[in-house]
């Protein structure tokens, strides 16, 4: 390092340059915060603060209107454990999740594999099967509630054909949840299929060509190449379907209003009812906290186990 003798002139220049530099730095810093600030501020007010608020309100009893919140400790959580409706909606929500994993995801995978064969008109097929994803859920629920009409509904036709009487889908406790699941499957199939299609397209074609040279059958190709190579996508679709089940609202709300007697109600519907129909803010917040931890748990399982269970190509 060479020491430069400082003349008064060069020192003046140095401070001038430093001041100019720091002014530019300051301007850069201000611009940075002005640019990200709005996003961070809105997240603070409408995302992070609600997390804290829900957490603390879940230990209180409050009706949204009165100025004071009464601290009740763990009462809301204790009530949840003793609440048969809570367990009913949890069970219904788990049924929705299970139906997605057992029915929707395999169907979506089959359709994606078939469409991936470069069928004539595959773009049109994809567009049709995907279209419910873009269709308003309220509209879907209204169309389906007409289809489910036990007298004049469209679904009566195939049942009549095989000699069955149509159940009163939306008013029968044994069928209301089935009806909700049918609609959710119809609505969500295309979304899962499109995700699978994206996953399938990332499988290198070389693998198939090599196996074909060895004379592998179509089934063998599916079983030993497609299925293992697509497993990260399958896992992802399953996890998002489970989380999606926890967020189901519009379809049961419009189709059955969760009824009769909570037979088709879901977690979010019950949360909404508690908070906004009955003004049980404390109990509703406790439900929200449990929902949050459940989603966190599912996401954690996804991150923790995806490497072990899933083959990443």
């Amino acid at each position: 390092m060479k020491v430069i003798p400082r003349s008064s002139e060069s020192r003046g220049q140095a401070t001038l340059r430093k001041r100019g530099l720091s002014r530019r730095h300051l301007r850069e810093a201000l611009t940075f915060w002005a640019f990200v600030g709005p996003n961070l501020f809105l997240f603070g007010v409408f995302t992070f603060w609600p997390l804290i608020a829900s957490g603390s309100w879940s230990f209180t009893k409050w009706d949204l209107i009165s100025p004071t919140k009464d601290f009740v400790g763990l009462e809301n959580y204790q009530r949840m454990i003793a609440d048969p409706i809570f367990w009913r909606v949890v069970r219904n929500t788990l049924w929705v999740a299970a139906s997605a994993i057992v029915i929707k995801v395999p169907l979506a995978l089959v359709l994606a594999v078939l469409l991936n064969r470069r069928l004539p008109g595959s773009k049109l097929y994809r567009a049709i099967i995907f279209s419910p994803t873009f269709t308003n859920s309220v509209a879907i629920a209204m169309v389906w509630s007409w289809i489910f009409d036990p007298f004049y509904g469209l679904l009566r036709a195939p049942l009549d054909l095989v000699g069955l009487t149509s159940p009163d889908w939306l008013l029968d406790m044994r069928w209301s949840l089935v009806a909700v699941i049918i609609v959710l499957t119809w609505q969500g199939l295309g979304y899962s299929m499109v995700i699978f299609l994206a996953g399938l397209q990332s499988i290198p074609a070389v693998l198939y060509e090599a196996a074909k040279v060895d004379g592998a059958s179509e089934w063998a190709l599916f079983r030993h190449i497609t299925l293992p190579m697509i497993s990260p996508t399958t896992f992802f679709v399953m996890v998002t379907s489970v989380i999606g089940a926890l967020k189901v609202f519009a379809i049961p709300d419009v189709l059955t209003d969760g009824g009769p007697l909570y037979s088709s109600s879901t977690y979010l519907l019950y949360l909404y009812e508690n908070a906004f129909n009955w003004f049980r803010v404390g109990y509703g917040s406790a439900l929200a906290v449990v929902l949050f931890f459940f989603i966190l748990l599912v996401t954690f399982i996804q991150n923790r186990f995806s490497q072990r269970w899933v083959h990443y190509g």
């Binding site: 996003n39 997240f43 409408f46 997390l51 078939l114 995907f130 879907i140 119809w186 004379g215």
Partner: protein
């Protein structure tokens, strides 16, 4: 021998394609039928509605169903509300995403990574968790039954920030440096260079957000109390709900559904590729 087996596999392939076509066609029909049933019901006379076995094609198109449906609820007002909510919400969210993505990729700052982590962390908090506190906030701010109440709580952006940040990062720094030498500021770099270069991403994001906001149901249901402030999905749900005595015919309900869906049908028809792309990008990256 070899040519025979080759022929066999070719036949097997053709058979496979045929089976695949049949299966996919059945699936497309099953997905399509409810849409067809909705459209055809919307044009039926009540006698063609209340009949079994069902009538597929109405004898005469009953256009007045749409007039009656339009009068059942103030749908004109709902249309205006939905349009205002969608347009302002989408523009605001795209701008917020663009500004933060630019700052997070093109402006040096000590806190850049931390700020990005905070935004990503927001993704871990489900919107359902924020419903009750956000209602309280909206209430305290006097935002119940207002457009700001409908729009502002959901314009902060993780997905858009992430998507645009990726796009801005992949641009070569030389373009920006050259502009800066010519005296351009960050605003010009963002709106004159980065956004136009990322136009396909911006378009995908805009379409994705617009459809999501147009279809949003739960928050508008919570934050509106008066009929005049309802959006289309909420108004449609009220139409279905208020019909406890069954005075509204199914043909009128389906006509209303069709009136609500038409803009999205047109959009889907025009920009299907881009919308599908947006959804899969959202799923795989978000």
């Amino acid at each position: 021998m070899k040519s025979l087996s080759l022929q066999n596999t070719r036949w097997a392939h053709r058979l496979g394609t045929a089976v695949a076509l049949v299966v996919v066609t059945i699936a497309a029909i099953l997905i399509g039928i409810p849409f067809f049933w909705m459209v055809t019901t919307a044009f039926k006379d009540w006698k063609e509605v209340m009949i079994f076995p069902p009538v597929w094609i109405p004898a005469k198109l009953q256009w007045e169903n749409f007039v009656i449906a339009w009068q059942q609820e103030p749908f004109g007002r709902y249309y205006i509300n939905s349009t205002i909510t969608m347009v302002t919400g989408t523009v605001a969210e795209v701008l917020i995403a663009a500004f933060s993505a630019y700052a997070l990729s093109r402006i040096e700052n000590r806190f850049r990574e931390i700020a990005f982590m905070v935004i990503l962390a927001a993704m871990m908090i489900p919107g359902q968790m924020t419903l009750i506190p956000n209602y309280v906030t909206a209430y305290r701010l006097g935002w119940i039954d207002t457009y700001q109440g409908l729009v502002i709580p959901s314009i902060s952006s993780v997905f858009g920030t992430f998507l645009l940040r990726q796009a801005f990062r992949s641009m070569s720094p030389e373009i920006f440096d050259a502009a800066k030498i010519d005296g351009a500021g960050h605003l010009y770099c963002l709106f004159g260079i980065a956004m136009p270069l990322a136009a396909p991403v911006v378009a995908t994001l805009t379409l994705y957000l617009a459809t999501a906001k147009w279809n949003h149901y739960l928050w508008p249901l919570i934050v509106t109390n008066t009929r005049n402030m309802r959006t289309l999905p909420v108004g449609l749900a009220w139409m279905a709900r208020e019909d406890a005595y069954g005075d509204v015919g199914e043909q009128h309900k389906m006509a209303a559904v069709l009136l609500v869906l038409i803009p999205m049908f047109i959009l889907y028809f025009l920009a299907q590729e881009r919308l599908v792309e947006g959804i899969s990008a959202g799923a795989l990256k978000g």
